[in-house]
């Protein structure tokens, strides 16, 4: 009998959730102290997928780092590519051809849809509904097919290049995207019927894991997580990179910052992404797809912090160049890493069933948390 039981009659239970657990989205280890089913203390333990990306980046050329960037957030590789090319481009002051910019935007937004679809599916599984997962993957598979026809890979695309993109769109890509969007829009309504309006789902998510506006800013959340708390912060608008200022789109925000708001923000973001893709396709004109850049680039010495609005949030790359072919320092600010930190605060006082609901709603990818 421990001291605690002697004194209080109760014992706090320590539950190790993960690293092998069905709903920790990878190798995340949560150390939970619980009073019955109520959590009194939570401590995320990360690093099981640590591959030393920043150290590796210092040993790879700037171009090869794009291939490496695929592995940060491996379900939204295009956005990672985007972040990886912006820094050296700005350092070398390269003007990317218009066509390449639009292709990049189409790819990044398709990837946002793909990533949010995974969120939708896995969140359903976390909550206990298995079937939406398969519906989400059916749609994601179509995006992956489109990607495959462009760059020849389905997961690690390695499509962006410093100065443009690696290959032009095949002839059937634009019709393919158009028909995908037409197909996808009604499916979103179906998702709403399956989960968003389902009373059990709402019961599980509404009012669970609230993050206030101040908290969200204080913990530097980004992406859908901060927008669900009512902060209108989207790098695509606030610090428009690439050609995002040419498009007309809304930024969905939530009010309460609970799990349901975070979920709804993502669902609405998919609609907005579809709008952006449609506009980008309209503007797509024949032309160069890559600027004239040497095969092995040597950005001038200097430093820059570039960031993109990845599906998970602000994906920043802080790169320092010393004028050689290798980056001197390549810091990756993974949105999942920063978003996950708030978990230790949010989980206090929730039930164990809420842990998966909250963790799922933050939408982390361990590849990006640990890098």
């Amino acid at each position: 009998m421990t001291e605690q039981i002697k004194n209080t009659g109760f014992e706090e239970m320590t539950l190790n959730m993960g690293p092998q657990h069905p709903s920790t989205h990878g190798v995340l280890h949560l150390l939970l102290k619980m009073d019955g089913e109520v959590i009194t203390e939570a401590r995320p333990d990360i690093g099981y997928l640590h591959r030393g990306m920043e150290k590796l980046a210092e040993k790879r050329t700037w171009g090869a780092n794009i291939a490496l960037s695929d592995r940060w957030d491996y379900i939204a590789s295009m956005s990672n590519n985007f972040a990886a090319v912006l820094g050296p481009e700005k350092l070398m002051n390269i003007t990317v051809p218009k066509r390449a910019e639009y292709i990049r935007v189409i790819m990044a937004e398709l990837n946002r849809i793909a990533s949010h679809l995974i969120f939708f599916g896995t969140y359903g599984i976390d909550i206990g509904a298995f079937t939406p997962f398969f519906y989400a993957f059916r749609e994601r598979e179509m995006i992956l097919d489109l990607y495959e026809s462009v760059c020849g890979a389905r997961l690690t695309y390695n499509y962006f290049r410093i100065g443009g993109v690696s290959a032009d769109l095949p002839a059937d890509f634009v019709p393919g995207v158009k028909s995908f969007i037409d197909y996808f829009r009604p499916k979103l309504k179906e998702y709403d019927t399956l989960l968003s309006t389902n009373p059990i789902f709402m019961d599980r998510t509404v009012g669970v894991g609230n993050i206030s506006k101040e908290e969200a800013i204080d913990w530097a959340l980004s992406g859908p997580n901060i927008r669900a708390s009512g902060v209108n912060f989207d790098i695509r608008k606030d610090d428009a990179y690439s050609v995002y200022n040419e498009f007309d789109f809304n930024i969905p925000t939530g009010k309460n910052g609970d799990c349901f708001d975070r979920y709804m923000v993502r669902m609405n973001e998919m609609k907005e992404s579809a709008r952006i893709i449609e506009q980008a396709i309209e503007k797509l004109e024949p032309g160069d797809i890559i600027a004239k850049v040497a095969k092995v680039v040597r950005p001038p010495a200097g430093e820059i912090y570039t960031h993109v609005e990845a599906p998970k949030g602000e994906l920043g790359v802080y790169c320092i160049s010393d004028g050689s072919t290798l980056p001197y320092r390549y810091k990756v600010r993974g949105p999942s890493f920063v978003n996950l930190a708030i978990l230790q605060k949010m989980l206090k006082g929730l039930k164990i069933a809420d842990v998966v609901a909250v963790l799922g709603s933050i939408d982390i990818v361990l590849g990006e948390v640990d890098r």
């Binding site: 790879r60 097919d145 495959e148 760059c151 690690t156 390695n158 019927t193 309006t197 389902n198 009373p199």
Partner: protein, 138 residues
């Protein structure tokens, strides 16, 4: 009371969707029996091409070796004085390391290194993933 009816209606609608899909043909592919069409740009295993004269087109410029982010290509080069060009005496790709990023194919100045549409690439041990020139030059 209205809430109950609303909830029941939402639940029934959700059930309607799963019921609808119960009768729709599944979208999955019975993989080993039927195979999906692979895109022509598929980044599969590597293959070296021969030139029109039938000799190997690679002249050992080592660009692919240098550009590879994971150092999976290694080669040895000699100069053939008669033909006045370089050849590779060995060209080894370690597919256990390769991450199929396609940078080597893109960089090849002779366009003699290409991807195959092969995606079923597995082996029982790491050693058999290291392919020498006799397997790569096709």
């Amino acid at each position: 009371m209205i809430k109950i009816f609303k909830y029941t209606w939402a639940i029934l609608k959700g059930m309607g969707i799963t019921f609808k899909y119960f009768f729709i043909r599944p979208v999955t592919v019975q993989y080993p029996k039927e195979k999906v069409k692979i895109s022509s740009r598929w980044r599969g295993t590597l293959k070296q091409l021969r030139n029109e004269k039938g000799e190997e087109a690679c002249d050992g410029c080592r660009i692919c070796e240098k550009i590879c982010p994971v150092n999976c290509i290694s080669m040895e080069v000699y100069k053939d004085e008669k033909k006045n060009r370089r050849f590779t005496s060995s060209y080894v790709v370690n597919f256990g390391r390769c991450m199929f990023c396609g940078l080597c194919v893109e960089a090849c100045p002779k366009k003699c290194l290409v991807h195959t549409p092969d995606f079923e690439f597995c082996a029982y041990d790491r050693e058999s993933l290291i392919l020498a020139k006799d397997k790569i030059l096709r």
